[in-house]
Amino acid sequence: MKQLLRRAGVLALVLFLVYTLVFVVLVVLPGDPISNRLSDPDAGYTPQTVDLLKQYYGVDKPAALRYAEGLLRALHGDLGHSLADGQPVTGKLADAFAPTLELGGIALLVVLILTALVGLGALYGRVPALRVAFMSVPSLVYSLPVYLVAVVFIQAFSFQLGWVSLNGDGGFAATFLPACVLGITISPPLIQVFVRSLINADRLPHITVARARGIPELRILTRHLLPGAALPSLTVLGITIGYLMSGAVVTETVFTRYGLGALTQKAVQQHDQPVLLGIVVVNAAVFMLANLLVDVVYPRFDPRVQPRFSHAK
């Protein structure tokens, strides 16, 4: 429990640093939607109007003051307002989070299923060539860009075969298709590690002994091989959840889905500082929570890890 609190403290500190760093970067970068709109010489805004709008949005204040105010507000859960459309950032993030969670959740399932399939294929393939084929899946898929897979999937399954409707009434299929794209394209690192660990575990002497003793293969797999392979895979799984976020940017844009990815794409395009700041903080939090979860689950698979966790200074 104490360790968990300590980890929570670290999490808060990292979030604070992320907030600060991103704020600095955004201040240093030139341009924001308000200034851009106001500085357009042909827009006909009088100097008074410019002052009024700048005051209204608070962009005329010194950066340090904006930082302090923003941080104070953020502590109360208020991330300010979008410079592009004036909506509260927390509301925008909340609206965007649910569909991304749905997409990401299903994509994660796809990743796990793919990992299991490829892993078992590489281990139990009937002929060596098949096993090699399964083992080369990760490196092959890894070289496919997300947008290419997305465009090909849309063309094939929606436009040509007509299996999936993307005009808003597609139901589960409309989420499943992009989730497959996302899942397939972020799965290679996890599959790679899982397959390697599985095959390494398979070569260990005690497995050979177990097989020699006639222990059923299913038991060997579930009792000896999988737990061994799960450990390194779990770490990569935590990182894969981070990839979900970046993969969602392209997937959501191509599939015309709304979500954190689409929001990110737009906020970057519009230089919408408050929204970008909110997105980065939320992403950092998700990433860290996923890894925290992995750390908590780790000892259940390997008791040896327990001491390392509790020895954390």
Binding site: P30, N36, S39, A43, G44, T49, L52, G86, V254, Q270
Partner: protein, 563 residues
Amino acid sequence: MFDGQPPARPGSVRRRSGRTASALTATIAAALVAVLAACGANPAASPAQNAGEPVSGGNLVYLASYDNPDFQWTDVNDWEPGIIFSALVDRLVYWDAKSSTLRPWLAESWTANPDSTQFTLKIRKGVTFSDGSALNAQVVADNLTIKGKGDKALGIPGTYTWPAGFESATVTDADTVAVKFSRPAYGFIRALTFYHSGIVGEKTLKLSFQDSSDIKNLVGSGPFVFDSYTPGEQYVLSKRKDYSWAPDGVGHAGPAYLDKIIVRIAGQNSVRTGLLQSGQADVIRDVPPADEQRLGQTGFTVLPAKQIAYSVQIRVRPNSAATADVRVRQAIQHAVNRKELVDTLYFTDIWKPATSVIESGVPGWVDLSAKLTNDVDKANNLLDQAGWTARDPQGFRTKDGQRLSFLVYSVSWIRQSQPELLLLAQQLKKVGVELTVKNVDSNNETAAVGAPGVSLSISLGSVPTVSGPMRNNFHSAVTTSWFNSGALAKDTELDGHVDALSNATDDAGYTKAVGELQNYLIDQAYVIPLDTNQQTFAVAKKVHDLNVDAYGRLFFYDAWLSK
């Protein structure tokens, strides 16, 4: 404080292009579509307009190329919100583009005094807003006052597409509004046809800039009402069943035919085209030039939407020794080969070389094609006369060791602006002029294009009335404009032409002034027109009578779907 000039800021037609699509994706997708479409496309059919008697019912799916949920009623200036806004909010006057006449809409009639400084608007009776409140003179006067002057307390800037000098809008009786300007405002009635001049309900009028930007708070009297919005995904608009105040000159009276309009956001060019082809959408905007021909040949109607706007053009400002010399500017004018530009970059004949500073639909337009000839010899002679006779090893002209070179930025909101400028650079190279084309991200566009070292910019913009924008863009009194910043000399003759336009009080005077100003801008080569400023929509066969209004925005009211 808000009664500044009403310019056409570039934002008014921002985002002609869907720039999010990476070229590679588009190319791959186009190739795929081409291959796959060969297997399953329906045979070519004639455009499906005017097929039988209209029927009511059905939902139309329109694919927008981006989501910009900014519906601020004095300021809405972007393509997609403009289209939705136009379906929800009526205007006082309707511009019938077919017959080029102004027709009554929410205003039953109007009069102007001889010097065009005072206008009287008679407001139509029996009109209600979507919240049930009635349209009357008071709400119209309140609308016009905020549009004319802005509202400091609410943080709302005035609309910038009106003629300058708005003074007041007052109620004279239950259904009459009197509007006063401090100077001739000949184009005022026409400005009322632009969607910026849409009339909103009292409830929306009371809201701050931020709150009134929210489509949920937009109360209009249009044939459709707002139903729901899923951020980044879709808008749903529903038919208003008791609508009975459509302007004369449109296809029918009474409620609209469509039950619902579903506006889906689809940012990728290839995805929009694919969804249309696979029957998952009925109308798409922002059709890539490469797709126009193919869609047209496979049973879809390609609907060009010409703009009431400036043509796509290069503006030259006299802020350097080279561009302050009229001969150099004229040389550029004649070095441009507009036909080659259009033939190379577009594949259908709906795209044409520009004919003047403004598009042909704008009142007062004159065809100046005869002056916009491609004449390399003439361009070379002009440059020789201007003293740019020496050549450097790369073949560019020099004077006193300085190369005749210009920097121009391609901008995100003009489709094809980069290929157009690159081709232009090749054309200018033939007469020894260097044109460097650079990209800049959209947030730094304004600053980059405005930098002192830049003398050329690619531009366009809506002009509901020409007088306001022309004044803002070119009159030397507007010292902050792009054109006048850093100008080496004041062009009093240009000012004279702009003043004549601003001071026009009748049709004849206005038309004459617009004509003279166009001629002057072309003769002096302050403006180098390139090609037509338009939009393209592609429409499925089952959609009938879908047209665009005078400003190129979709006019959903008459549209219907065959069963």
